[in-house]
Amino acid sequence: MSDEMPILSMKGITKVFPGVKALSDVDFRLFKGEVHAIMGQNGAGKSTLVKVLTGVHEHDSGEILLEGRPIRPDSPLAAQKLGISTVYQEINLCPNLSVAENIFVGRQPMRFAGIDWKTLNRRAEEILKRLNIAIDVTQILSSYSIAIQQMVAIARVLDISSKILILDEPTSSLDETEVEQLFKVIRSLRDEGLAILFITHFLDQTYQISDRITILKNGEFVGEFRTEALPKLDLIAKMLGKELSEFSFAMGSDERKKAFALVSKDAKNLLKVKGLGLRGSIAPFDLDLNEGDVLGLAGLLGSGRTEMARLIFGIDGANQGEIQIKGKKATISAPRGAMMAGMGFCSEDRKHEGTFAELTVRENLILALQARNGILKYIPTRKQLEIADELIRSLDIKTPSANNEASQLSGGNQQKVMLARWLATNPIILILDEPTRGIDVGAKLEIMELILNLSQKGMGVIFISSEFEEVVRCSNRIVVLKDKAKIAELSGDDMNESRIMQTIAGGK
């Protein structure tokens, strides 16, 4: 394959943002008829590389050759015209328009003074047929599953003239069968000769779909590998640049259980929930959380994990039941009340419910602490800096300085900022809703490591993750949820992935 000419080759790409060298001397090749995955931790430069290719950013040095000719797209539209089609992570479609309208919006076939609906619908069907999808294109988009919507998004950018298709985290909101459906489409496009660049955080999916992998680390090119010649563990090690054994959670599960046993022997009760519930949100449930506990909430998407957390933290008002904190009844009707009672909550929706993009990292970090102190006890800037620097150091948050805007940080580091914001308030109970979602494997490990450290110090942690493996690894007890209700609590030897799945499936 190496003597064949790549359809796209990027050589020595360097991109500098104020204070950060996002890419330095990165090479990337893409061949016709292959799926090529870019892997790396958050902040490795994956998205910057793609943005350079799609004309969102212009590179400072290096060259891009498309079919041997140098190109320099200065806008996404220019890239599209060159045959580089991109489907972004967030679906940019209109849910209230029909499938056909979504595919052709902005370039509808016209007839006389109006839209030629017949041609529009026929051509939409043809395009979808290429992707092996047969659906009624006149139905509105939102009536179809996310997977179908994702494919409509692909259909929209896919032109006869497309040479390269870029898929940025296309599977992050799909379930397993939907992923398989999408992969079928990707494979058939690949077999047609399209060059596909695939970005994902899921290791397994990378191995299922990709032919070749390029690894980046801290904006630098680590290497290009054929997927079948690169064992998973090697991939992880190359992405992290460190050995797996450095993380304590990789220690034997027996050791960890011992550590938990030491803590929870005479641990005091921190949180007791009795019959808390909200009609239409989650059925009444009981919970107990002791010092040093990591209570995992496991369940499928929509099982009520987040609803449970929101109810405890006072975001949604419960219409029955009660909460006791350290044995005393607490009335919590708003997040503020929960915070004052010693709780912290990291939402799963970092962008809309967590990060203050235009505030500095420092301000992001001290906000909850300041809110607890109240309006008048303003923390002086110098003290803010001290607190921020301490948190940045202890959580290894990657930022040029505490005074940079939070929006400049990568996803994993924004996640750490959110976590650190609560650590600054020194909570006794910390609720983490999907703290490991959408971040790379390295940051995942660090956050799980952090959770264990916090619990060893006596904090009670409620840990939510859609990856059962993570829940099992981190928790000393697991609450299983299904269809908006708590259905079981597992501990000890029952804590394993298959047991969780059996419980949800309704077996023994």
Binding site: R336, F345, G354, F356, E358, L367, A371
Partner: protein
């Protein structure tokens, strides 16, 4: 290049450059623009006039800056000016001999209370009822002038109580008294927002209200008090407006002030999408608008096209403040450097 970059980053610089350019233009093209005279111990001249005439808009802009920072808007401030003027006028009364019906201080406090209540009404609609700010404040924008008419019995009330004229016409240490009022309100607001956590909380709410609530900030209260404060500022502005012309006219007092005030805030660098706010920038913005108006008058521009001239300048300033536009310009410069 380093200078260019630091210019790009600082928010107050562009409004200041605009103001400077306007003044420079006048230095060359308007005769006697900078001439100052001392008459009876008071300073007179165009510059003083600009300060004096800008005072009501500056006061509105202080309140509006905070409202806009929460990702809101208050288009009722012009009407609240009319209400405040109406209340103070009816309580002082149109006695030709100049004897006020109620003590002037009482009348002023009453006007401020009514205006603050108007702000609370707006704040309640936005923060508790959950109305969109522009709709919520549209109610008072429309109804406010009606309320002012009710107070004044739909008549223009002329005032003759001399002491009240100090607010809008008086001088202290050679400078117009209204400027001291602006300076005082600005100072107190700056201290209250920057030396306490209020400013940070307002910005947090404006940038991401849900995240603010989840971080334990009482976002609803923050929003409520910003609108309330905007009402109070409009009240103070109304007192000055009434005192300047010693009359209250429900129809015309503060007419279209809201637009100038919003413009002042935006020119000053605070984004309409909320977040970071710049009180001093808003003050410079108000001065830009007033200087522009004065310049246009000085040039005897026909009234029918004076608004167009104003619009063109505003357009140019907005372009200068747009980061996208500036980076394009910078790109042109950079390319020239490369080719040179």
């Amino acid at each position: 290049m380093a200078l260019w970059r630091s210019l790009n980053r600082s928010k107050i610089v562009w409004p200041l450059i605009t103001l400077g350019a306007l003044l420079l233009f006048n230095l060359f093209f308007t005769p006697h623009f900078f001439r100052m005279e001392i008459i009876e111990g008071h300073l007179f001249g165009n510059l003083i006039d600009i300060l004096k005439n800008a005072a009501p808009i500056m006061l509105l802009a202080i309140g509006l800056t905070l409202v806009i920072a929460t990702h809101g808007i208050d288009i009722s401030v012009g009407s609240v000016v009319a209400i405040s003027a109406g209340v103070v006028a009816i309580l002082i009364g149109g006695d030709l001999a100049g004897h006020p019906k109620y003590p002037i201080a009482v009348a002023m406090i009453a006007a401020l209370l009514v205006s603050t209540a108007a702000g609370m009404w707006n704040g309640m609609l936005v923060s508790r009822v959950g109305m969109q700010p522009i709709i919520a404040t549209l109610i008072l924008f429309v109804a406010g002038r009606g309320i002012a008419m009710v107070f004044t019995n739909a008549m223009v009330i002329w005032l003759y109580a001399k002491p009240f004229a100090l607010l809008g016409q008086g001088y202290v240490l050679g400078l117009p008294f209204s400027i001291y009022i602006v300076a005082f309100v600005l100072l107190v607001t700056s201290i209250f927002t920057r030396k306490t956590a209020v400013g940070l909380f307002i910005e947090a709410v404006g940038i991401n209200p849900t995240a603010a609530r989840f971080s334990g900030i009482n976002a609803k209260n923050i929003v409520f008090w910003c609108y309330t404060f905007s009402g109070f500022c409009a009240g103070v502005s109304g007192l000055i407006v009434c005192s300047t012309i010693m009359s209250a006219d429900g129809n015309n007092a503060g007419n279209l002030f809201e637009l100038d005030a919003i413009l002042a805030v935006v020119l000053g660098g605070t984004s309409l999408s909320g977040g970071k706010f710049y009180l001093l920038g808003s003050m410079v913005g108000a001065l830009i608008i007033q200087t522009l108006t004065t310049t246009i008058y000085a040039f005897n521009v026909a009234p029918e096209i004076s608004q167009v001239v104003k619009a063109l300048v505003v357009y140019a300033v907005s372009l200068l403040q747009s980061e996208v536009f500036r980076s394009k310009i910078a790109g042109v410069f950079a390319r020239k450097e490369l080719s040179a």
